[in-house]
């Protein structure tokens, strides 16, 4: 009796008829076959999927071929002959990341060579959370976590999020593009709330296209002293070295002007090398990092090193034409987060937003929109939905110029000087020579200054040195 024979075409027909997504990779991690069910799930054609090389890393495009290759890649253990089960992921047609469990079965030729892996993907999407790390951590857990995090971050920090048509924001966008293409150190300057860290992260994620692997280490400069910075940068350097020449490590110094002198010295020791293998990005409030005191040349050199490319972020009030599109962008982000949907802002509400001075810039705008979104009951955010401080300040701005807090310098300094002299005299029990010594001035100068203040018609001080009867 003749045995039935099966041709390759019959085998393909059989696999295509399967209701489970199935694909096969060769030893070079290249997809050689994908059945119809898999193509339906990933929303791609056979031409897009077959031939795709799958690399086991976490860097991926939000959509498209590189993302697919990352999402479908088996864990490396599968190519060493071990059967394994892990999660595969792809972006479905509406752009959402969907995940399924899959079984990876190696096609073992012998104990050394594995000609490929066949993958059977579960029928249902997997929506569950990762297991608690303290219970049973899976070997692939960290990889999946990093991959999902990177993809979400890339969405948050895309260049398209720098919305606006003002000349200032257009200049920022072009500088961000330039910074992403270069490897020069970047200093991002702006007032509080203007989105300095956001721009830094946008540059970091924009340059991911150029590197296989990347790490970013943000450091709050105001919180670290020399010792902490030393240990942090050492660990970072080790990690950067592990990335190799195809990777990029970025140290992000937040509020770099708040670094202590001791910490600056530590940083300078690490960066003062002929060829730095990692990148420095910094944020600061003041564009003039350099000081004119000439105290230490190394510090000036460090500041120069940090500010190879300087990106200055405008204050929100200086680009009021960008407020409506920015407000709409943030509102739609909130719509995407939850069930409540609000279409936009009424013309009256937009007028109020334009009149407000936004001292805390985009951070304040985002907070305000969050409150207004919560309050809004109609299809649009109206003037009554805005926080009261916005409407009051905007109404006031419409009738009178906004008064900023002022200090009368001469009077204020005189007040401080009188108070210091009074306290020094009190401490010296009225001994003017001792008080003058503690203030670092001569007795004559102390007496002369005191007499000047006594004759002040505004009557600063109590008119008589303490201790003098």
């Amino acid at each position: 009796m003749a045995r039935p024979t099966t041709s390759a075409t019959d085998l393909v027909k059989m696999l295509n008829a399967a209701t489970l997504p199935i694909y096969v990779l060769d030893e070079a991690r290249c997809i050689r076959f994908a059945n119809h069910c898999l193509l339906d799930w990933v929303g791609s054609t056979a031409e897009e999927v077959v031939g795709l090389v799958c690399n086991y890393h976490s860097d991926a495009e939000p959509a498209g071929a590189p993302s697919l290759g990352t999402g479908l890649c088996p864990p490396p253990a599968a190519f060493t002959g071990q059967r394994s089960r892990a999660v595969v992921a792809c972006h479905c047609r509406d752009g959402q990341l969907v995940r399924r469990w899959a079984d990876f079965t190696p096609l073992i030729a012998d104990e050394i060579d594995c000609p490929g892996v066949i993958v059977l993907v579960d029928r249902d999407d997997f929506w569950g959370e990762f297991e608690h790390p303290q219970r049973e951590p899976r070997p692939t857990e960290l990889h999946e976590l990093v991959r999902d995090f990177q993809q979400a971050e890339r969405g948050r920090f895309s260049l398209g999020q720098l919305v606006g048509t003002s000349p200032a924001i257009r200049r920022v966008r072009s500088q961000v593009r330039l910074a992403a293409q270069a490897t020069a150190n970047v200093l991002i300057v702006g007032s509080p709330g203007s989105g300095r860290e956001h721009v830094a992260r946008t540059i970091y994620h924009a340059e991911q296209y150029r590197f296989e692997r990347q790490i970013l280490l943000p450091i709050e400069c105001g919180l670290v002293d020399g010792d902490i910075l030393q240990s942090t940068v050492r660990a970072f350097q080790q990690r950067a070295a592990d990335l190799g020449e195809h990777g990029q490590a970025t140290l992000l110094l937040l509020d770099v002007e708040r670094l202590s002198r001791e910490a600056e010295r530590v940083l300078w020791d690490h960066v003062n090398v002929p060829s730095l293998t990692w990148r420095l990005m910094s944020t600061a409030r003041n564009p003039r990092l350099s000081t004119d005191d000439g105290e230490d040349q190394a510090f000036d050199d460090l500041r120069c090193l940090l500010s190879t490319l300087v990106i200055e972020l405008p204050r929100l009030v200086e680009r009021s034409e960008d407020i409506p599109p920015l407000a709409q962008l943030f509102l739609e982000k909130l719509n995407a987060e939850g069930a409540k949907q609000v279409g936009g802002f009424s013309p009256e509400a937009l007028d109020q937003l334009r009149l407000y001075s936004w001292p805390n810039n985009t951070d304040e705008l985002i907070g305000m929109i969050r409150q207004s979104h919560d309050r809004a009951e109609g299809p649009l955010v109206g003037k009554s939905d805005l926080p009261r401080r916005i409407t009051v300040a905007a109404d006031a701005a419409a009738v009178a110029r906004h008064q900023t807090e002022t200090i009368e310098l001469d009077a204020f300094m005189a007040e401080i000087e009188v108070e210091l002299m009074r306290r020094a005299l009190q401490q010296a029990k009225g001994n003017k020579a001792a008080a003058a010594r503690s203030l670092g001035i001569s007795r004559q100068r102390l007496l002369r200054r005191w007499q000047q203040f006594e004759s002040d018609p505004n009557g600063r001080g109590d008119g008589r040195p303490v201790g003098e009867s």
Partner: protein, 143 residues
Amino acid sequence: MSNARFVFCEQRSRWAAWTGRHADLRSYEVQSLDECWDHLRVAPASLIVVELTSCPIKPMIEFLVQVRERNPDGRVMVVGSRADCRFEWLLREAGAVAAFFDPRSAECLARQAERHFASVPRDGESVEQQIIDRLPWGDFAGS
């Protein structure tokens, strides 16, 4: 210091005790991220220390990202056991200002906390009052 609180989110108050040996800072203790949000709403510049064992890693990452976006003045540190140190770089990139996995690091945590609270402006103070507070009055006897 009403707009900044020192909050520990952990199950057994160990890190709060270890840190307390090195810093004289009043702290609050909670056991869930929701309670952390309650403190952040009242005091936006709070410093939150979250123990990784008190919540799974994924909600922790989401918490870090949300604090970064919704509470830019707030700061989060993550603490945990040695087994958790594989998450350190991910946690730092997500927004943790520091991550400690060894009780001996409690001193570092305390130093950073002190620096944070020293830099937070206090509520309701005029610019003049803030300048006056930073003058070297301590060198002279109080009036």
